[in-house]
């Protein structure tokens, strides 16, 4: 391990010194270190600012998530009602709402909110899973002494959910750092690694950009490591590092009218929350748009519709291509690892390390290497979809029972036949889980790249409207990207249900 790392470092140094990558876009480690030393006075305040936003958001987001998780585990009705909100939070591309948050709130608040939103879903689902999967026999012991649901939660269920929750906190820590940095990208605040990165983007100084990027990665990685160590200490067992992409179902079997009411409530609740938050904020109507005000804006003769269509026509195709490539590579590699288990051993550590990195925040580095053309969008989209998809699919395929693979082998099937008969069908639930995970991430990656680099599509429209103080458009793009993301999520769920039902399988988390 150490030897390989040293070889890689030496290679990197040589490549950097000779300026082999995109005319010096990849500086040598020594150059980055020298620059870092020269900038050392700048770092503390930027790191501290990002840590503050991420840290407070992490605390608030996870606290809300655990409380919500307990509520959803105890009350299926609450889980069903909150489904729309949960999916929206899961699917919303954070960069899209960053400008709104900067308009409506001040100081650290946008960072705290985006960091908290980044933590919420993963911790909330882990809490629900942990509680509902509590060993029924342990619950029985409490009930046998007359303990009610509260006693059971207090003595058994919450404690047995701890490994799941700690596992989620590992993932939530880098997500909080990413949330804070995205809010910094979205405007507001002089300090923070994201603000520093944006501020340095214009000054052709690759070594500094790399230094900032590495610092952000390190910050996220430390957050991950702290909770990984706590999780290991406390539970001596490791929970898988796959990222959840399914909200708690909240199966309610009541009369039909009740189920319809709940479904309608779950769709309306996000809009009601939107309305309530604006009313509570007391922001002027010019800036804070309610759903009705947005409709009015779209009716104005300002060609808003046309500009949105143009932006969509640029954003959506490349998002689709990015998802297809990212998932395609991940699928091929995961299947390849069935034939050659060495692939997983070699590649899983890399893929897992990327789970601890704020990948989208590294967009400026990719801009250095790939320029400002469309290819940079693809690179970002593929890298943010490929890794989580690979982890999900490879871990899924490893769960296929040995005996299921051995049966065709016993009849002399070739490796390809085994793949075709067993592994590919068995991977179906994980492909869909990976797809649900990939859609919002891809949209986030594309919009961030459009905003920072290419000047095209929805991301750019958002950035421009920010400059023109076109509040109606800022809101429209934000709402539209959340709706799109939720829409595609639902399309995947719809197809998934049908395909898996036909295959007689159930959804993977």
């Amino acid at each position: 391990m150490a030897i390989r790392a040293i070889i890689a470092l030496v290679l990197w140094e040589v490549v950097g010194r000779l300026g082999l990558v995109a005319g010096g876009a990849l500086p040598a480690p020594s150059a980055i270190a020298i620059r870092f030393w020269a900038d050392r006075g700048d770092y503390p305040m930027h790191v501290w600012a990002t840590m503050q936003g991420a840290g407070i958001g992490f605390l608030i987001g996870n606290l809300v998530a655990v409380l919500a998780g307990v509520l959803f585990a105890v009350s299926p009705v609450a889980a069903r009602l909150a489904r729309g909100v949960n999916i929206a939070i899961f699917a919303l591309p954070a960069i899209a709402i960053a400008p709104i948050l900067t308009l409506m709130t001040t100081g650290m608040t946008p960072r705290v909110i985006l960091a908290a939103l980044g933590c919420y879903f993963v911790t909330m689902t882990a809490t629900v899973t942990g509680i509902t999967q509590t060993d029924a026999r342990m619950r029985d012991v409490v009930r046998a002494y007359g303990g009610g649901r509260m006693a059971s939660l207090r003595l058994v269920e919450l404690r047995s959910a701890v490994p799941q929750i700690l596992g989620a906190l590992r993932i939530a820590a880098p997500a909080a750092v990413l949330g804070s940095i995205l809010a910094e990208f979205g405007g507001g605040g002089r300090f923070g690694l994201g603000a520093y990165l944006i501020g340095s983007l214009g000054r052709a100084d690759p070594a500094r950009l790399w230094g900032i990027g590495l610092a952000a990665t390190l910050l996220a990685g430390i957050g991950y490591a702290v909770f990984a160590v706590i999780a290991q200490r406390m539970t001596a067992s490791t929970v898988a590092v796959t990222v959840a992409a399914t909200p708690p179902a909240g199966e309610v079997d009541g009369p039909v009218w009740q189920r319809i009411a709940l479904a309608a409530g779950s769709v309306l609740l996000p809009f009601a929350l939107w309305w309530a938050l604006i009313a509570a904020s007391g922001a002027p109507a010019m800036i804070a748009k309610t759903p009705m005000a947005l409709l009015d804006y779209l009716m104005l003769p300002n060609k808003a519709g046309e500009r949105i269509w143009d932006a969509l026509a640029q954003t959506l195709p490349i998002t689709a291509v990015g998802i297809a490539l990212g998932l395609g590579f991940a699928f091929a590699l995961a299947l390849g690892s069935v034939l050659r288990p060495g692939i997983v051993r070699a590649f899983m550590p890399v893929a897992l390390v990327t789970q601890t990195m704020p990948l989208v925040a590294l967009t400026p580095l990719l801009v250095l290497i790939f320029g400002r053309g469309p290819s940079v969008i693809l690179w970002i989209t593929v890298s943010v979809t490929f890794f989580p998809a690979f982890v999900t699919m490879a871990q899924g395929l490893q769960m296929v029972a040995r005996s299921a693979l051995d049966v065709p082998r016993a009849y002399g099937a070739s490796a390809w036949t085994v793949l075709r008969l067993v592994s590919i069908p068995a991977s179906a639930p994980y492909v869909f889980a990976a797809l649900r995970l990939a859609v919002p991430r891809a949209l986030l990656g594309v919009m961030t790249a459009e905003w920072l680099a290419t000047g095209t599509g929805l991301g750019n429209l958002l950035n421009q409207s920010r400059g023109y103080l076109d509040y109606g458009m800022i809101w429209t793009v934000a709402v539209l990207s959340v709706l799109l993301s939720v829409f595609f999520y639902q399309v995947v769920v719809w197809i998934e249900r049908r395909v898996l039902a036909r295959l007689g399988m159930t959804t993977a988390a």
């Binding site: 012991v141 009930r143 046998a144 007359g146 006693a151 404690r159």
Partner: protein, 252 residues
């Protein structure tokens, strides 16, 4: 004061993949206060189901269950009952002594440290007070579960195959110990077992059950005076009763 258990006309069925299972069908049973009753029968005849009904974990489809004249759930809330499940069902994050203390936490009573220490000594786990369940053998875990069932000094004790995981020697020792505990406390006890010898050695009355549907096939009184000693296992009277119960289990 020990309390009695009464089941009258109790039925409980489950709807499963293979159709409806009549786990219990019209079962009536009276256990007098202070009596020791053994329940024996083929696996799947509804023994565990009967115990779950008696501690209020489940409700019958028909019939009435009462413990000391109260509903099982009320009796449980008052701390009248104690139960050791078929699998130990310990909380893996609690030490041996904290697992034994669990009923106190549920019943919101202060931990009786002295009683916990006595019970740990009684089940032969001295020195393992701070161990976690994961560090114990299956037999040791089962003994923790027995200690836990006794910790709140219940008036009605349910034991679901508590010695199933123990080896024969330990099992005999635990049988003798259980008899001693019972003679001291005179707690009403219902013991589910699949050991015919164990049932005869411990019980005043052996209830033989049959499966599909789960029902009581025969009730056999055991006349031996107490305290019963290990030598009893070798006597001809003991062998005769063993043969009678084995016959009842085979449906004679």
């Amino acid at each position: 004061m020990p309390v009695g258990l009464s089941l009258s006309g109790v039925s409980r069925h489950f709807d499963g993949r293979g159709g409806r299972v009549a786990a219990l069908s019209d079962v009536s049973l009276e256990v007098a206060p202070g009596a020791f009753t053994a329940l024996i029968g083929p696996s799947g005849c509804g023994k565990s189901t009967l115990l779950r009904l008696a501690v209020g974990l489940d409700l019958p489809d028909a019939g009435r269950v009462s413990v000391g004249g109260l509903s099982p759930a009320e009796a449980a809330r008052k701390g009248l009952t104690g139960i050791a499940f078929q699998d130990a069902a310990l909380l893996p994050w609690r030490s041996v002594e904290d697992n034994i203390a669990l009923p106190f936490d549920v019943l919101r009573r202060p931990h009786d440290r002295a009683r916990i220490a006595d019970l740990i000594a009684l089940v032969g786990l001295s020195g393992f007070e701070k161990s976690l369940p994961g560090e114990l053998s299956g037999g040791m875990r089962q003994r923790v579960a027995i200690a836990r069932a006794l910790v709140n000094s219940p008036e009605m004790l349910f034991l679901d195959e508590p010695f199933g995981a123990l080896d024969q020697i330990l099992r005999r020792q635990m049988n003798v110990e259980l008899q001693r505990i019972w003679m001291e406390s005179r707690t009403t006890t219902l013991l589910v077992t699949h050991g015919i010898d164990e049932a005869i050695f411990l019980a005043d009355r052996v209830v033989v059950m049959a499966a599909r549907p789960g029902r009581i096939a025969r009730v056999i009184d055991i006349p031996f005076p107490r305290p019963r000693r290990a030598e009893l296992f070798g006597t001809p009277e003991f062998a005769a009763l063993e043969a009678e119960i084995a016959g009842a289990l085979d449906g004679h």
